[in-house]
């Protein structure tokens, strides 16, 4: 094929549009799955207007020694990280009457990320650690209220790692090892002796 001015022009147009397309894709497309935030402030990607689901959330049982499940209406969202975010935001909201939350006051959610092998990384603000009242059991209940509320409702998530201000945390109050994603632990959510 002879190289005509027309071919050159077409090639240039194609090259430029490929470049622009690539730049646009890099600039605006979602990050890879492993690092994709569930939501950014003020925007609700994945949220579906008005639609709600029933989710099982965990609160502190009356005996103070374990967690108790409660059904709550939670906003529906497309995709696992977005739905995890809605579930955790509901967990951070004031608890239903008669139940006590395991989450320290003023805690907010910064983001939810999905990793490999069914692990979810849930990133909270500093008050989750700074306002924690301490005590082994208290800490266990906080950690597993978060872990179980995510894994129970989202079968794709098998373990949850808690981050604080975007960083890996050792513990919340000096006891529970948070350096790895934690699977749910049934002893803390099962019904106690009658």
């Amino acid at each position: 094929m002879a190289i005509t001015p027309r071919v050159v022009a077409l090639t240039l147009v194609a090259a430029v549009s490929t470049g622009i397309g690539t730049w646009l894709a890099v600039r605006y497309m979602a990050p890879p799955q492993a690092l994709r935030p569930g939501a950014t402030a003020g925007v609700q990607p994945g949220a579906v207007e008005g639609r709600r689901i029933k989710a099982t959330l965990y609160y502190i049982a009356a005996d103070g020694l374990r967690l108790q499940a409660a059904e709550r209406d939670v906003a529906y969202a497309e995709g696992t990280p977005e739905q995890a975010k809605r579930i955790l935001e509901a967990l951070l909201a004031p608890p239903p009457p008669g139940l006590v939350t395991a989450i320290p006051p003023d805690t907010a959610l910064r983001g939810v990320y999905l990793g490999e092998g069914g692990a979810a990384y849930v990133d909270f603000t500093t008050p989750l650690r700074a306002n924690h009242p301490g005590g082994s059991l208290n800490e266990i209940l906080t950690v597993y209220a978060i872990v179980s509320s995510v894994t129970t409702n989202l079968p794709a998530v098998t373990a949850v790692q808690i981050l604080i201000d975007g960083h890996e945390a050792d513990t919340l109050a000096g006891h529970v090892d948070l350096r790895r994603p934690l699977p749910p632990s049934s002893p803390w959510t099962e019904k106690g002796p009658a």
Binding site: G134, G135, G174, V176, P187
Partner: protein
């Protein structure tokens, strides 16, 4: 004249015999008694008249703040203390108190300006006047006043394997500490005095046993003594036996003192001075030599806080110190604390202290909290491998190590330890230890509805030895916060942990074949 001389002789003989009789009846000083009260001990003079022993009333009366007054007619002594009055007849063995008559072995005797009384007068009459319990123990020459604790102590020595076993019977049961000093062991009894019924003689590694004030037994050691261990076993409802095994340098330890008489000893390896490092040889028999106690939190990390403001970090250090004193004093096991002051120690460092000191046991002490103020009771935790992955589970299932090919063919078990999760190898033993602790705590303190649990605790996962975390009570419960502040509760927790350690030591120092299922 003859008859006059005979009369004089008869009179002289009568005077002489009367003098002899008088001499026989005059008091002779005897070894003094000691009056033991809660606040100390003081001497009480004693005398013998005929074949009966008397105590000096004035000494005891002064101690008991009882006034002694002879009536004008000279036929009675009045003992007065506050509004209580006891009248002792000087003619016959009788006392009168509030119109009631008491029969006594003999009346008080005059000794110059003082008065002597028989022991039963002290026990029956003086005690009524002073309104306190008085007990006279003749053999040990003690007068026990009020609530003073004076256990009867009988010490025996016998050969036990290559060492010597010292048995100390204590009645009633008495707490004690054993500490090692150069060339002697000092047994301090929680008592105001010792009523020593027998101290045994020289035997094996024991040169002698002596008593000291206020309630101390000193075992003087012969050359060749290397170490000791001690344990208490109940004898009956009221008395207990402290068994101290003294081990000869280089000898193999007999089984725990609580395990009954020692069996025939295996051949004794050559004696080794304490500074020697053994060359490569057969592995040492399993034993509990070092324990690391970890008082939870510290410094800026306060831990849980009670409604009245009690900090968890202060309670954990307090109980850890009590437990350390009790183990070191009574078991002769080395105890290290991860912190002995109010400072923050990172979690990794706590396990490292145990690993680097080759501790045989790691015990982390905490106080719990729940958002529900009603939650109460002690809880015992050991590690859960949740979240630590398959590698940790493999380590737990094959705690001996991994089979690796060896030079010259075959394979050899090598302990490849992933330090970060060293605890996985010890999970089964940690569960046993947790069980002992739960059982011993249950005897003394309230347990939670979930007394034994597993959790992925950061401080336990790196510990390369059996490791347990104990939550003594719920600090978030106002009532339990008050309990946690008392010496009694803290001592009960420390004693429970001590008892569990004694049981665990008996377990690991007994070959598996001899263990009860």
């Amino acid at each position: 004249m003859r008859s006059r001389a005979a009369r004089v002789a008869v009179i002289a003989a009568l005077i002489a015999s009367a003098a002899l009789a008088l001499q026989a009846q005059s008091p002779r000083a005897a070894a003094p008694y000691s009056a033991v009260a809660v606040d100390g001990r003081r001497p009480v003079a004693a005398s013998t008249v005929g074949d009966q022993e008397f105590l000096r009333l004035d000494d005891l009366a002064a101690l008991l703040k009882v006034s002694v007054r002879e009536d004008r007619a000279g036929n009675a002594l009045t003992l007065t203390h506050g509004s209580t009055t006891v009248v002792l007849s000087l003619d016959q063995g009788l006392a009168s108190i509030g119109g009631r008559l008491l029969s006594l072995s003999s009346p008080p005797l005059r000794d110059g300006s003082r008065w002597l009384v028989a022991p039963d007068v002290v026990v029956k009459a003086l005690s009524l006047a002073a309104e306190t319990r008085l007990e006279v123990r003749r053999a040990s020459r003690l007068v026990v006043i009020g609530d003073a604790r004076v256990p009867r102590v009988t010490v025996r020595q016998e050969a036990a394997g290559a060492g010597t076993r010292v048995s100390v019977d204590l009645s009633p049961r008495t707490n004690y500490t054993v500490t090692q000093e150069p060339r002697r062991l000092v047994v301090k009894l929680e008592a105001d005095a010792i009523d020593a019924a027998g101290l045994g003689g020289s035997q094996g590694l024991v040169e002698s046993v002596t008593t000291g004030d206020p309630a101390t037994l000193t075992i003087h050691l012969a050359p060749g003594f290397a170490s000791f261990r001690s344990a208490a076993v109940p004898l009956d409802a009221a008395s207990s036996r402290l068994v101290i095994d003294l081990l000869q340098a280089g000898a193999v330890a007999p089984p725990s003192p609580t395990q009954g008489p020692p069996p025939a000893q295996p051949p004794t390896p050559p004696a080794m001075s304490s500074g020697d490092v053994p060359a490569l040889g057969p592995p040492q028999a399993p034993a509990l030599r070092t324990i690391v106690i970890d008082p939870g939190h510290g410094g800026d990390e306060l831990g849980a806080r009670g409604p009245a403001g009690t900090y968890e970090k202060d309670l954990t250090l307090d109980v850890a110190r009590r437990l350390k004193a009790s183990i070191e004093g009574r078991l002769g096991i080395r105890v290290l604390l991860t912190r002995d002051e109010d400072r923050l120690v990172p979690l990794d460092e706590r396990a490292s202290i145990a690993n680097n000191n080759k501790a045989d046991l790691f015990l982390s002490i905490h106080a719990n909290a729940s958002p529900r103020p009603d939650a109460r009771g002690a809880e015992v935790f050991y590690l859960s491998l949740d979240g630590y992955g398959d590698e940790a589970r493999k380590m737990a299932e094959s705690p001996q190590g991994t089979a690796l090919p060896a030079l010259g063919g075959g394979s050899r078990e090598i302990a490849l330890i992933l330090w970060e999760m060293a605890q996985a190898r010890h999970l089964a033993e940690s569960a046993v230890l947790a069980g002992f602790i739960e059982e011993e705590l249950r005897r003394r303190v309230e347990m939670s509805a979930r007394p034994i649990q597993q959790a992925p605790f950061r401080v336990l996962v790196s510990a390369n030895m059996p490791a347990v975390l104990v939550e003594m009570a719920f600090l978030s419960n106002a009532q339990q916060e008050t309990q946690l502040g008392t010496d009694e509760f803290k001592n009960q927790v420390a004693q429970s942990l001590y008892d569990a350690i004694v049981r665990y030591r008996a377990r690991i120092e007994t070959p598996p074949a001899r263990r009860r299922p």
